[in-house]
């Protein structure tokens, strides 16, 4: 069996608020194997996004051991973290975060701008991904000309363009109605079936039901159901 995508041992994370230390994560132990489809659940403010930001290397833990894609994250500098995100992680956010002035195709291509190891035919690959989510007719559109569900599908294509090991989705259906949410979850399921490791953060049990594994976060530690 291949090495786990993500290993977290005794991870803590604190924020300084004023002159106080707010400890959000109090010793998280979590291993995510390749090809898993995991949901992370918890109430608002429980630290789900904090955990996801750590897993996505957007932020670094206060203490603990963290291995991602075989790299010891705690030892990396800012540029190396950027490179790690670029190659190994795809992000999907609740509010899409597409560039309003760029076309659908250009939005999907943004991560390739920052790619160190150059790949050929990125445009063909972007078009292929857009076709998989049924947006091949919308490539020249601007995000404002798309529905919420369509925008989120573009964001998923953007997350996949560099072929990352790990796809992280923070409340990807939070701004969508239940029928559109179902579509998005189907896209994520299919992505997982094609071999991608997927982690979805949600407080909705119906969404979590798509995943094969569910983790609960409460009082700064995680429990598995």
């Amino acid at each position: 069996m291949a090495a786990p995508v993500c290993i977290m041992e005794n991870i803590t994370k604190s924020f300084h608020v004023g002159d106080q230390d707010l400890q959000v994560l109090k010793g998280v132990n979590l291993t995510i194997e390749q090809g898993e489809f995991t949901a992370i659940m918890g109430t608002s403010g429980s630290g789900k996004s904090t955990l996801m930001n750590l897993m996505g290397c957007l932020d670094v833990p206060t203490s603990g051991r963290f291995i991602l894609a075989g790299r010891d994250v705690m030892q990396l500098n800012d540029d190396e973290l950027s490179e790690l995100r670029n190659e190994h992680i795809g992000f999907v956010f609740q509010s899409f975060y597409l560039l309003p002035y760029a076309t659908v195709l250009e939005n999907v291509l943004v991560p390739t701008l920052y790619r160190e190891k150059k790949k050929d035919h990125v445009r063909d690959r972007a078009a292929e991904l857009l076709k998989l989510v049924g947006l091949e007719e919308r490539m020249k559109f601007r995000p404002t000309q798309l529905s919420g569900g369509e925008q989120q599908r573009v964001a998923i294509c953007r997350a996949l363009i560099n072929d990352p090991e790990l796809l992280l989705a923070d409340e990807p259906t939070g701004q969508l109605d239940s029928r559109t949410a179902e579509e998005i979850m189907n896209v994520l399921t299919r992505t997982n079936e094609r071999g991608k490791t997927v982690v979805v953060i949600t407080h909705d049990a119906d969404i979590a039901a798509y995943a094969r594994r569910t983790i609960h976060i409460r009082d700064g530690i995680i429990t598995e159901s």
Binding site: S49, R85, L113
Partner: protein, 404 residues
């Protein structure tokens, strides 16, 4: 390459998307660059014109005028240079291959068969066209013999010839100057305007003897004298010697000012540079100030833009942009806008400099140099003032930027 062109495309999209920001930055940079373009064109024009004038005045030439600086300043024209001075100078300077006297009447009515024209009559020795490097294009110069005989002959400038004779040739015809019938023996080539701006083609040249005796009734004094030296390399020393000789002959005690003035081609260049210089300094200050203002406009609008685009910066960082990538992106946007401003400014400068030449005697000359300087300056503004906002953008903490 693909990456670089993607960066350019995306920057271009941003430049297009944030239209107001682009417009304000572009216009303010364009104004500054326009002013700078005019300065460069004017400076180059002045040098070119100075070069032309020196070439036609003759770098080996010296002009000696009667009267001191002071008397000229109060509008008085003293007569101080005599024909005896002329003879003495001729003997003292063997390398002076031209020593030509000059006397003139500022404004005389010349008529031919009912046509009248207000002209300037200049008395000279027989080799006027050599003295001034000013060729006779029709007929010939008057002769040494004409000088001796006080002959009523003359050669005329293009403008007088046109006004009095139309398409006819004036050579051989008689014109009336005051009550003097004068036979025209030659026509000078077109000369254009003097450094001061007056036309040079409205004059009639006659033997200085004739002018002195019959037009201004003067036996001893001439207005000016022109010298040309074969030893161009010694010209500064020759001017000093000339000064000493004249002060000695005019018995001017030490400490007293000269009662004559000497001009060389260097003085003419100085005069011209002073003429355009003040205007260049003025536009220069305006140009530099407006470029600095343009820079601050750009810096502020970009800071606003960075605030507005926090989410964009956050997502770019999330998908792998390094700090320097964000920095490069904002700098590229800034330089793109200022480059466009530079090009617009150059065109604006071109047009307004052209307009300036209509309202004032203002030489302009456009070269690639003017364009290159404008372009480089617009890049300097783009990078210089875009750097601070670009740094702000690059140093944003990604999780702060994308927290909802």
């Amino acid at each position: 390459m693909e990456r670089f062109s993607l960066l350019l495309i995306q920057s271009y999209e941003a430049v297009k998307a944030f239209k107001l920001r682009t417009l304000f930055c572009l216009v303010s940079v364009a104004l500054g660059i326009a002013a700078i373009t005019i300065i460069v064109a004017a400076t180059e024009g002045a040098y070119k014109k100075a070069f032309d004038i020196v070439a036609s005045f003759g770098p080996d030439s010296v002009m000696l005028m009667g009267g001191s600086e002071e008397s000229r300043a109060i509008g008085q024209r003293e007569k101080t240079i005599t024909l005896d001075d002329l003879e003495a100078i001729r003997q003292a300077f063997p390398t002076a291959y031209v020593v030509a006297p000059s006397s003139w009447v500022g404004s005389v009515t010349v008529s031919y068969k009912g046509n009248r024209y207000q002209s300037q009559v200049v008395g000279s020795s027989s080799d006027y066209s050599i003295v001034w490097t000013w060729p006779v294009v029709e007929g010939s110069d008057f002769t040494e013999d004409d000088i001796r005989r006080y002959a009523n002959v003359g050669i005329m400038g293009q403008e007088v010839a046109r006004e009095l004779f139309g398409d006819q040739s004036p050579v051989g015809k008689f014109v009336q100057i005051r009550n003097l019938p004068v036979q025209i023996v030659g026509v000078l080539s077109e000369r254009g305007t003097s450094p001061g701006g007056g036309s040079l083609d409205n004059r009639i040249i006659m033997p200085y003897t004739t002018v002195m005796k019959k037009l201004i009734n003067e036996q001893r004094y001439v207005h000016a004298m022109r010298l040309r030296f074969t030893d161009l390399e010694n010209i500064d020393g020759r001017v000093e010697e000339l000064k000493r000789l004249l002060r000695y002959r005019h018995r001017i005690p030490d400490g007293q000012p000269d009662d004559f003035r000497i001009f060389t081609s260097k003085d003419i260049v100085k005069f011209l540079v002073a003429l355009t210089g003040s205007l260049v300094v003025f536009i220069g200050i305006v140009g530099v100030i407006s470029l600095i203002v343009a820079g601050f406009v750009l810096a502020n609008l970009f800071l606003l833009s960075v605030k507005e685009r926090i989410k964009e910066i956050g997502i770019r960082r999330a998908v792998g942009a390094r700090k320097q990538d964000i920095l490069m992106q904002f700098l590229t946007e800034a330089v793109m806008i200022t480059t466009a401003g530079g090009v617009v400014g150059f065109i604006l400068g071109l047009v307004s400099a052209q307009l300036l030449t209509y309202v004032a005697e203002f030489p302009v000359y456009f070269s690639w140099k003017a364009f290159a300087i404008g372009l480089v300056l617009s890049w300097v503004v783009g990078v210089g003032f875009g750097l601070h906002p670009a740094r702000q953008a690059a140093n944003l903490v990604p999780i702060e930027a994308i927290r909802t």
